[in-house]
Amino acid sequence: MVSTGSTHDWTYAPAPESRSVVDIKESYGLFIDGEFTDGTGTSFKSINPATEEVLAEVAEASEADVDRAVKAARRAYTRVWSRMSGAERAKYLYRIARIIQERGRELAVLESIDNGKPIKESRDFDVPTAAAHFFYYAGWADKLKYAGYGETPLGVAGQVIPWNFPLLMLSWKIAPALAAGNTVVLKPAETTPLTALLFAEICQQAELPPGVVNIVTGAGDTGRSLVSHSDVDKVAFTGSTEVGRAIARAVAGTDKKVTLELGGKAANIVFDDAPIDQAIEGIVGGIFFNQGHVCCAGSRLLVQESVADEVMERLKRRMSTLRLGDPLDKNTDVGAINSGEQLTRIRELAGVGDAEGAERWEVACDLPTKGYWFPPTVFTGVSQAHRIAREEIFGPVLSVLTFRTPAEAVEKANNTPYGLSAGVWTDKGSRILSIANQLRAGVVWANTFNKFDPTSPFGGYKESGYGREGGRHGLQAYLKGER
């Protein structure tokens, strides 16, 4: 399914990564108190979004199962984890980091099969960054008194993560929680549970005390049971703003501490003096990385009018060299859409873009006949009122708007209820700092985009949620004290 550019005919021989490194079981139970156990509820299927092949049957945790998991976490918290010295907790986290590295190939292949993301990304980004996260927070476990948030953990954390970076989001949640001395019950997304279940095995290999990490699979109901459980002290959620709102409502009047990392509609601002080749790479990486299934994706391109034509021409040329297809092929740039449901939403919003009068251009490529696919797409002639400029599409769809002055760029960039991330491209240093100051967003990438690091706090302003993950700031979500 190699797309062909207008000027070059790029053809590549298939270079698939071997699946044999992964052993997917027919069915999976829940991971509670250090053991895999059957759920008392129903089950659901996890499928490969690139082929629609059923991968495994996975237990859907019932309210009773969630309760069992929370009890296990509470026991482990009271009897073991909160009594253990930080130095000892650290060693478990280091072990986990090392096993993730050792089993990296397996995790990467499994992630690509279950999620649909290119192996290039799961292998070079998701898995190494997940390991790095554990390694980073391991080091904090015995240094909490220097971080400024006290040394008292909250207790049991209920954590709900999305399907776009399954293992990486797990590490963002579990690593700081455990380092700070909490125990966790984590619910992976229903379309991507498999790497979390492999992670459970890693916990066993690391001989992590039973109950410190519990994994309950399921969908919305399981998540609701978890975040509203009365013995959960802390709720951490990454996902849609809609669900984030519901969680914020559900915890009202309780003592639960909450962090929410929600949607975004990031502006990526390109000035006429921008380093154009890098900017084009940044635009492409900003929106097509992980099929655009990224909450901080640069989904609104704001380009200065004087260079708009040139930028669009070069952008389309670059997009034409993107290779869409088999996620396990090492040459693949753009993989499968994670689910049929998500594909429907992307199609629907793109359809609204057409209906509202924006002009659609998409990469000419043959889409595989099986699985869920959407070609890299760009809309021009988009106005701020268009739904494709306001709503998070969470797919490989870029909306392009233009501006004339820096003030107009800032005004348009901030004209959104979201505030997760933003990008700015210009060669002028003072302009970078001025624009970065004015953007109401938690992460600003200047002359780069979509960069992540365990040491770097991540999280939003406004309706993109609250709290930070990563860095010293990430510890605050899991500790009681303030300076």
Binding site: A248, A252, A446, N447
Partner: protein
Amino acid sequence: MARIDVRKTYKLYIGGQFPRSESGRSYVVNDAKGKLLANAALASRKDARDAVVAARKAFGGWSGRTAYNRAQVVYRIAEVLEGRREQFEAELRAAEGISPAKARTYVDAAIDRLVWYAGWADKLTQVVGNANPVAGPYFNLSTPEPSGVIAVVAPNGPLLGLVSVVAPLIVTGNTVVVIASEAHPLTAITLGEVMATSDLPGGVVNVLTGHQAEIAPWLASHMDVNGIDLTGVTDVELATELEAAAAENLKRVRRPSPDEDWLAEPGLERMTAFQETKTVWHPIGV
């Protein structure tokens, strides 16, 4: 014949002005012995919305000032308050029926708190910000920024309580709509007079007087308010309702703190509760 007093009309403090409630309503405020002190404006939903508009309008300018400048303005509030301390001591004695010594203690503490917070304006970034050593050739810096427009339900302490919830918000660059203590609203308006003459731009602090249960829900559900501090909400059900309403646009919520010791050193929490962390990346290269 004894001279007839010129009584003060207590109004609202919105956008640097002292308007009456647009509703034309007022309510009776009594002293500690139950004798009429004055009528206070009974703010309405419209007043609350006007106050939010004023706070939003003031936010860009106030948050854009240098930290040094904000420090000076908050320090100036302390200076002006010191100059009018006798008036505040008299008001506190009348409102709460407390001894002169106690009134002095509260006024002292309120002035000292303003001075304490003023000094934080240009230090908080250094204490809670971070340079982050990312694994790659990138400059990476995290700094705190104000959340925006913050609604505050003030605690009952007519002066110290009010100063203790407002100062940490404005010194960090937020703008504020505060619902004064329902029982003791008059001192809040007198404090408005102090702020209005302390180079604090109009709209940075807006003071509403009236029924907490009537006004607070409008602020909690207001889509242009970024955060809500429920410190002074004592009704648990109301607090839960307000927190749930605040979820609609993911307001930052600070839950009630009923047993707070207002004379103790506050720590950073009231400032950091309404700060965002912004992280800026830039490649390093030649």
